[in-house]
Symmetry: C2
Subunit: 84 residues, 2 copies
Amino acid sequence: MTIPLFRATVLVRPKAGILDPQGAAVESALEHLGFSVSGARVGKVVDLEVQGDDEAAARAQVEKMCEQLLANPLMESYEVEIVG
Amino acid sequence: MTIPLFRATVLVRPKAGILDPQGAAVESALEHLGFSVSGARVGKVVDLEVQGDDEAAARAQVEKMCEQLLANPLMESYEVEIVG
């Protein structure tokens, strides 16, 4: 019996209050191009496939990946979406 | 009269077939930690606030930002979500 495969999307963002130089650079560049923009923040999106008996097991695996590698819990928050 | 402000989330991902060394590194690191993972791809998430008369106008602005700055149309695809 094969273990089902789930596609997951993880969003990793700098926490509120944490300096985000990349976001500041993006905002400044957009303003120079003439856009009215504010509050730009840049994070990561990670798409991957993970094995799991069901959706809950797959989500638990991905949350463990976030805590161990994908996100820095001091500075970043993460959001896991299992897309199927 | 003030112009309404919309929060937008932009996902920028490497297109299929484009080499993604960061994704490969993440996948390899996760495997070394013992996870059963495949197809890892890493992109960017950009959150920002933009002015617009309505949601369609805000979305059009953000799509213009993607074409001009946020994404490299040769190598990356983008997805715009107006969150309110």
